[in-house]
């Protein structure tokens, strides 16, 4: 119950944070999400002239009050979808978003089905063993003698 409450609180806190990021993106945040078109890394890992150029474009966009989506859309219009580090959320790019989720769901179903089958296939617990009355008397006698 406590865990569920913690998850709900975290989710509620994440929504305003995402909205703030959309309305007031930071330079560092965008440099981590935009690719350098000539180096194959994100901008924050490159100091090439092409990367410097895009960093300036981002800085100008932030200074003029553009949202994160507006800056990203401008960059995509100039350089194409590949300028964003994350795959696009349409067309073939959707596969990259949904495949991991589908993989997790399939794995959970397989593990669940395996666990269910395993639990059903287990042998029932053996019943308590009935001793021969003569043997039980003898055992009681032996125990009394041992304790006495």
């Amino acid at each position: 119950m406590n865990r569920l409450a913690a998850v709900l609180v975290a989710a509620l806190l994440a929504v305003p944070a995402a909205q703030a990021s959309e309305q007031h993106p930071t330079q560092a945040e965008l440099e981590g999400e935009v690719m350098c078109p000539v180096c194959g890394t994100t901008l924050d890992q490159s100091s090439s002239p092409a990367a410097q150029q895009i960093k300036r474009v981002i800085a100008k966009g932030i200074a003029s009050g553009q949202t994160k989506s507006q800056i990203e859309d401008r960059l995509v219009a100039e350089y194409g979808d590949a300028i964003l580090a994350a795959p696009p959320r349409h067309g073939f790019g959707l596969l990259a978003w949904w495949l991991p989720i589908a993989g997790i769901v399939v794995a959970a179903v397989v593990v669940g089905a395996g666990a269910w089958r395993w639990s059903r296939a287990r042998e029932p617990a053996p019943r308590s063993v009935q001793l021969d009355p003569a043997l039980e008397r003898r055992l009681d006698d032996e125990l009394r003698r041992f304790e006495g």
Binding site: P37, V38, S48, P49, A50, Q52, Q53, I54, V57, A77, E78, Y79, G80, D81, A82, I83, V110, R117
Partner: protein
């Protein structure tokens, strides 16, 4: 029942592996790293790959295929962030004065921010038209980075050569002007 489920799972796993292998083979076969530049290095003279891109100055677009058979052309791949491109584009601008009536000069601004590119052209006095290849797909067909890359295309559409040393410029210009 359990046996059929196990067989189905095995068939599915096998299908996934075969699919991934097919994808790998397809990617290797369709490797687009075999550009014009690599073909020239191998002694071939391929037909210039067509493109239809928007002009940087906003005056429509340039369709390379439409120029085939009309004029020989010089193709200059450049970007405003490319320092050596300044020198080569200025040499082409000078050649334009001599060959402009016989040869078409076209710039391909690649992997560049178009506003910076337009500013760069004005700053360096480059007057021949350029198209914008923002995602670099056209550049990839011609050989990819690094730039500058300058190609010479005969009137027939065959690529005659690529500028490697300074002397190549006058030599190839004469050659395609006579084509």
């Amino acid at each position: 029942m359990a046996r059929s489920v196990r067989l189905s799972a095995q068939a599915l796993a096998l299908a996934v592996v075969v699919g991934l292998l097919a994808l790998l083979v397809w990617r290797v076969v369709h490797d687009d790293n075999k550009g014009v530049s690599q073909a020239l290095d191998a002694g071939q003279h391929p037909t210039a790959p067509a493109f239809d891109l928007k002009r940087l100055d906003g005056r429509g677009s340039i369709d390379l295929a439409s120029l085939r058979g009309k004029k020989p052309l010089v193709l200059d791949f450049w970007a405003s962030w490319c320092v050596p491109c300044i020198h080569e584009s200025k040499r082409l601008e000078a050649a334009l004065q001599q060959y402009g009536n016989r040869i078409a000069f076209i710039g391909v601004d690649t992997k560049d921010y178009s506003a910076d590119a337009r500013h760069w052209q004005r700053e360096h006095g480059i007057t021949y038209p350029s198209v914008h290849d923002g995602n670099g797909k056209v550049l990839a067909k011609w050989g990819g980075l690094p730039i500058p890359r300058i190609f010479f295309v005969a009137r027939s559409g065959k690529v005659v050569g690529e500028l490697v040393v300074e002397e190549d410029l006058p030599r190839y210009l004469r050659q395609i002007a006579a084509s």
